[in-house]
Symmetry: none
Subunit: 208 residues, 4 copies
């Protein structure tokens, strides 16, 4: 947990620092990320970072927690959970909305967390709780609409769903990491065609 000092900062300043850290962690990974670079790119001194966080690990962990929270919040704001089923969710979120737009960096960070096995254990709790709840809710909505097969355990359906959507997301994000550019219309079209096919695979597999 950050120190009280950190929480007394103006919210925007907190955010500047956290985003600077996230950017660095995404680019270099935990070990190669330098506290001094984070400080510099956030426009504060290295010493200040250590007034806010006990060490680099705590900074990382809080970025994770904050990032997950923010991400889910944005998700909710955009598509109220109650009305969604897993398929419309996939169609909406993974592809079009968040991923390729303003929160691309956040999304990359959340993915990169899987690549830090030593920290995984400590971030897993937050991550898992938040996202699983979300997806479990989605499944319930879906089932309520009568769109979901009943002979397979929910836990497995979640695994299966995440596997496919994650892969899809990763696949498309990988192409736009470097470029801060937006997709061309042609690319958007290509993505949408793939998305539809993936949905078909998901539905025919999971649906009844």
């Amino acid at each position: 947990m950050p120190t009280d000092t950190f929480f007394r900062l103006r919210d925007e300043k907190q955010e500047v620092i956290l985003r600077a850290a996230i950017r660095e962690f995404v680019e270099k990974g935990f070990d190669r990320a330098k506290v001094s670079d984070i400080a510099q790119s956030a426009g504060v001194s290295k010493g200040s970072i250590y007034q806010y966080f006990a060490d680099k690990e705590e900074l990382y962990l809080y970025c994770a927690q904050w990032g997950i929270h923010l991400f889910m919040e944005k998700l909710d704001a955009r598509m109220p959970l109650e009305s969604q089923d897993v398929f419309s969710y996939f169609a909406d979120r993974v592809s079009k909305s968040l991923v390729l737009e303003e929160e691309r960096e956040l999304a990359l960070f959340m993915q990169s967390m899987a690549g830090e096995p030593l920290l995984m254990e400590k971030t897993f709790h937050h991550m898992y709780e938040k996202t699983n709840d979300y997806i479990v809710n989605l499944l319930e909505n879906t089932r309520a609409k009568g769109l979901l097969r009943r002979d397979i355990e929910d836990e497995l359906l979640v695994e299966y769903f995440i596997a496919v959507t994650d892969r899809f997301q990763r696949r498309w994000m990988a192409r736009y990491i470097d470029f801060s550019r937006e997709m061309t219309p042609a690319e958007t079209q290509a993505m949408e065609r793939e998305l539809e096919q993936m949905l078909t695979l998901l539905k025919n597999g999971m649906g009844c």
Copy 2:
């Protein structure tokens, strides 16, 4: 590429060194892996490692290349490609045979490679070429048996297949990272039940 000196070593010694390196890389990741620990656990001196490899990165890269090669070789030996379709392959490989038995460490290494974005670029070529070829062959076999739908592009089917099988593999391997024990019969049974369900999902999705 390793030096000539390395290739002149007895094959067993080469293997001891590479496996020691792989174990270290799996456990700690590239950055935290210590050359001195690798040397010690391989029973050679730190200096020797540097007679074989220009630096830690070259060692990692060669481990990747060697590991992929060996892994595919073992796969081939165990299940002749020609007779396999994607579903029987999944049933065989991912679950029962290699992964959870003698080459667990190798499999973990290959998965961990995805977590080293800075080295990915350099390992990707080998990895991709080898594994994709393999899976493309599997798809052809599967299609020849009339088990595969025709309205979806092969590239996507590969993605989809890898996504699901990978996730499954990871899920089960994660529980046995420490290698210290074998699965109990009860666990084996649980895994086999899950496997069946995953296969159902895959088939109903991809099959026709």
Copy 3:
């Protein structure tokens, strides 16, 4: 170029560090000089040196630049250039004043630079520019006084002058490298006799 951090240090501290480095470089040469010894003898930590300079080479190069600058400054302060001709310059500088007194170490460093062929290229520019300008000025003064032959190109006269004065300087400095003691009156006398003879040789060669 050193970092900003270095330039923000008190001037005396900067000087302590540079002189410690110069002493080490003179004693051991670039390759054998140890950064840790420099740090210790400057009374700072090894890590600090690396906050000031990117690496040992940058430290060396800045020592060179700083040393040349300081040396020429002292020279100017002591004997205003305008009034000097090459012969009085030799009599003053090389022998009596700077060389064998407080800036002996600096002078040795400048000479030792010629023994680092790999770094020469990078120090040469500064060195050459500063010293050649100086000597060219001296020649002009000398010529204005009607003391210089006109049938030989200036460039060659400079070479010739430097060759002889350098050799003389080296010859006498070599005997006092260890700095531990001053010259005895007898030695001073011997040196002055030699100096006079050298001047005779120089004058007969260059003069008219």
Copy 4:
């Protein structure tokens, strides 16, 4: 001193090894010269070098001794000492004959020795003895011809002479280190003009 084993080698092999070492020492200096590179470029194993010489330093020292001996021998062969005076010697040797032709590498090595202060002490003896004897002889010849002033001590005349000839040699060799090419006629002409002027300066200084 090399081991007996070394002296039992065929003379050509001895020479190959020594020249390989000399080339390496000239290029990189003592500290950066690698025994393994010397061995490789001589076409023998690293181990063999250590059968011939106790360590790198002994190798260097013997190169020095051998080089000086060979150099003087070639000098003698070319211009019998008895007939030479310092001026004709300068005209012949420094400029035209040895320096810029087959023994350029040897000459460079001898010059580079001055840049290794730690080894100087140990090579100085050989070097000094050989070359000084030579020059003292030259001076005597010169004086016998009535070409040399008598009011200056011989020791100083030697210093003076070496200073000028050395500088001249260095100046011209520096331009041809990299290129194994010969001088163009235009360059030869330029050099000869300079040589003449240097001789004038020398003669006016030393001559009577």
